[in-house]
Symmetry: C2
Subunit: 416 residues, 2 copies
């Protein structure tokens, strides 16, 4: 992609009510556009990040036999009445509207009810189990306040998976498999070492649920973590009993601020009972299906990653999800320099290196500042000097020093 | 994918209120699930079709410099008031709700207002033009009636593109380029010969707009078409004047029922004036941007394709968007036969042939009937006889006759 073909550009003017660092940087770089508090559109560079995060999550969900589907935003009131979650007193984040005939409808903030109800068409016998299905869904939640940028939106993308098992043992196996898949995902996204499997409240259904909490001051949660065991306890369930149950030592636990980037949850048979999802077991008797639910906030993760990996100059994307790997900039509009840039641009594309060419007729300072703001892993500068030396100036976004490389050295570095 | 791993299966029980052929077949095959009238979830096989249609559309939009983005469902009232389309008297398909503080919000049924408003941040000079951006958006429309299955939904996926030009001439060039891209898309989707560029009403903004209308009795439109010139006139603007202007002959025009699968529309500068989108021209003077809008109904197209390509036994997918290319079925559970099926399954995957293996322990009749219902282009049967002969029985879904092929002949046929 060339900068002169991209409709977005960096800007210093951002909405005055935008207080979060992630949204400020993403808006300045033209990765997102603000519709209203907590509601953001994703522009070409931002959408590329989202799609790369989704691709990684999709790979890991498929690897544990997840089947991708897409449920609907419009939801029936009746289902949620059965589980007593339609009333605004019970769930205070509903967006609701009505069909022309007056029938009330809700806009999906979660999808367990829908999917579990649908599964009544597909689960009859123990042979139909276990099953795991997931979706990337745009969730709508009528949050009272929305001031954490894309980390807590009124409209956001979530990967939610639901699993159906015929017994607690089978469910536990799946639950453990998803836990491992989640840890792998956070590793691949570059936040693995800052993300902790965390014991949290299980609500009405189980004693505990598990969250994946990433250390960042931009988060809204407090956890107590054990760095060596890579375990944490959410303050909401933090007490001596759980500390001893997890064989942790109170003295070595660190209290930190975190953002929840994923959660996994056992419903047992509670939800299946409410929605009447049964199967016939090997003995021919009816039993209720054991249900699990597993979320990863896709857009939230993007926000957390911006918060974690940024400096005073801008964003610093992990290579696995950077919009482009290389920010290529030629200095000046000299034909020799422009030709050299064009040549390298073509070579990189041919070698499957994702490259963004800042081909604008702009001052070097402007290009350097955008390169830092956008935060692609490598910056390559082509000037009269580098052209004469038949070299390329290469700098990693997360390092200070630049190096001059030959084309072979450069391709060796990038085309992996 | 193996049938025993897929959570969906075919069924004869479909909602009694479902009158459209496309939804009946898709529900019977487990490609979709009905939430309410006009609101359908897409299950694994159905989602694969959607994603393949999107991939083709994306390729063609990128080829004409379209830049992919994703706008939001939640929309501000203020914007739509500026263009006088907020009032339910003016637009009767709004879903509306309210934020916690009482602020009314709308759910996106269209996105011209949003995108045009956003472009005010990015378009300042003639150098910033032209630009084309598109999205695949889930649109929400509060339709009074919804009885055409996925052809007219209350929730559906649309590809909408918006183009911004500095002059009518530049706009016309883009408009023509999009027209050609659309024709190419419909060709690639297998509906090219039944899809006509159609003159239709231009509404308040221009004399005419263009629609892409596909001949099907399931459609809701009437057009008069000239088969040799591959042009049509929507009955809403059909009169002697336009017939002569298009150099058509009234006597050779055929009146047919069609479904609108795409439309392209020139707004001129009307929308830019309402939303104050200006640029500075070469002479330093301010002008309004010329706007075009271009839609393709992704889920609607899927429905139209089911309507067009189906017979009494089920669906018949064009190869370009079939969920899988091959429906592989072994007859019986004999070890020799199962092994042969497993071997072929692995070979096909290794050769990048998308294969669905009906590995169930089920009667042959059940497998044949599902193969016909699902409508993948090729059915391969492995039986004791074919195994003995070291051959594979291959039948195209759109042909009656089956042939026995060797593995080389088979791969030659499929691995293209």
């Amino acid at each position: 992609m060339k900068a002169t073909q991209l409709f977005t550009h960096s800007t210093k003017e951002i909405p005055s009510d935008e207080t979060s660092k992630n949204a400020q940087l993403l808006l300045r770089a033209g990765f997102i556009s603000k519709e209203m508090a907590g509601v953001y559109a994703y522009l070409p560079l931002g959408l590329r990040v989202i799609e790369k995060i989704k691709a990684i999550v999709r790979e890991e969900m498929n690897a544990i036999d997840g089947q991708e589907i897409i449920m609907t935003s419009l939801q029936q009131k009746e289902l949620w009445e059965k589980t007593d979650r339609w009333d605004d007193e019970k769930v205070d984040i509903w967006f609701k509207s009505a069909l022309k005939n007056g029938t009330e409808v809700g806009f999906g903030w979660s999808h367990e009810e829908q999917i579990t109800n649908m599964m009544r068409n597909f689960v009859h016998s123990y042979k139909d189990l276990p099953q795991s299905m997931y979706q990337f869904q745009t969730k709508l939640r009528n949050e009272l306040r929305a001031k954490s940028g894309i980390m807590r939106g009124r409209e956001f993308v979530m990967k939610d998976m639901y699993t159906y098992a015929h017994s607690d043992e089978e469910h536990q196996k799946i639950y453990d498999k998803v836990t491992q898949a989640y840890l792998k995902i956070f590793d691949r996204l570059g936040v693995g070492d800052k993300t902790y499997l965390t014991y949290a409240s299980g609500g009405a259904f189980t004693e505990f649920s598990h969250e994946f909490q990433t250390i960042t001051d931009a988060g809204e949660d407090i956890v107590y973590l054990d760095e060596s065991k890579k375990l944490a306890i959410n303050e909401e369930v933090y007490n001596d009993e759980i500390i001893s149950r997890l064989s942790l030592n109170k003295k070595t636990l660190k209290k930190v601020k975190t953002a929840e980037v994923g959660n996994i949850f056992s419903f047992g048979t509670a939800k299946s009972k409410q929605l009447d999802l049964k199967f016939t077991n090997k003995e021919g008797k009816e039993e209720y299906v054991v249900l699990g639910s597993y979320g990863i906030g896709i857009t939230r993760l993007m926000g957390v990653i911006v918060e974690l990996f940024s400096d005073e100059k801008g964003m610093v994307w992990p290579e696995s999800i950077a919009p482009y790997k290389v920010y290529l900039a030629q200095l000046g509009q000299d034909k020799v320099v422009l030709d050299a840039a064009k040549r390298l641009y073509d070579i990189l594309i041919k070698n499957n290196v994702e490259v963004f060419w800042d081909d604008r007729d702009a001052r070097p300072g402007e290009k350097f500042s955008d390169a830092d703001l956008y935060g692609f892993p490598y910056r390559i500068v082509i000037s009269q000097n580098t052209t004469k030396a038949n070299e390329y100036e290469v700098k990693r976004r997360d390092q200070q020093e630049a190096n001059n490389l030959t084309i072979d050295e450069l391709l060796n570095l990038l085309a992996r």
